[in-house]
């Protein structure tokens, strides 16, 4: 079963606006990762946040983690048309050195 589930499934915004995507998970984790997938391409790692961190920044990306609510959010500020992609959260599989990916949020940024 999917560990992480993203919300919303699809998001359409105008260039320059902020985009917020959420991820909920079920079991305790020691880190959570966000990936981006452009159409027809492989996934690209964006950011990793550890369970003892509450917020992390990378360029125009801001990730928060609330372990009490078992949720994370990815904020893309001042979005660009090039940010159009699917965004996935990934959490470690219980007892395994592998990740479980959510179903993703499809972001469309209109120029």
């Amino acid at each position: 079963s999917q560990q992480g589930e993203e919300d919303p499934q699809a998001l359409s915004i105008q260039e320059g606006e902020n985009a917020t995507m959420n991820c909920s998970y079920k079991t305790s984790i020691n880190n959570l990762q966000w990936y981006r997938q452009n159409s027809g391409r492989g996934l690209v790692h964006l950011i990793l946040i550890r369970s003892n961190e509450r917020e992390k920044h990378s360029g125009r990306l801001r990730v928060t983690l609330d372990t009490s609510k078992k949720s994370s959010s990815l904020l893309i500020t001042a979005s660009r048309a090039a940010d159009t992609a699917s965004y996935f959260c990934a959490t470690p599989r219980t007892g395994r050195r592998a990740l479980t990916f959510g179903s993703g949020t499809r972001l469309q940024v209109q120029p």
């Binding site: 391409r41 492989g42 996934l43 690209v44 790692h45 395994r96 050195r97 592998a98 990740l99 479980t100």
Partner: protein, 116 residues
Amino acid sequence: DARVTQTPRDKVTEMGQEVTMRCQPILGHNTVFWYRQTMKQGLELLAYFRNRAPLDDSGMPKDRFSAEMPDATLATLKIQPSEPRDSAVYFCASGLVLAGDYNEQFFGPGTRLTVL
């Protein structure tokens, strides 16, 4: 610029044929993953290897799928015989996973498989 490579990029075959997909992980990475992505199921983990040893292949249909790492520079995923329901994009990813930690995974461009 180190990257994961996969061949072929596209494969169209007929039901019952054997399909072999190849992956070259990033040099120095100790873990290789195989994923399958479909619209319906999303991204599914099929199998993964640590230091060339299979750690988990519970995501693979055992009767028709097999995954191997003959050496540190090559991972293969084979389907024999292929079926239309195997149509999907297959991704290979590699990473350097150290004890007690999970690091980022680097994905290849994928192999788009169509079984007619």
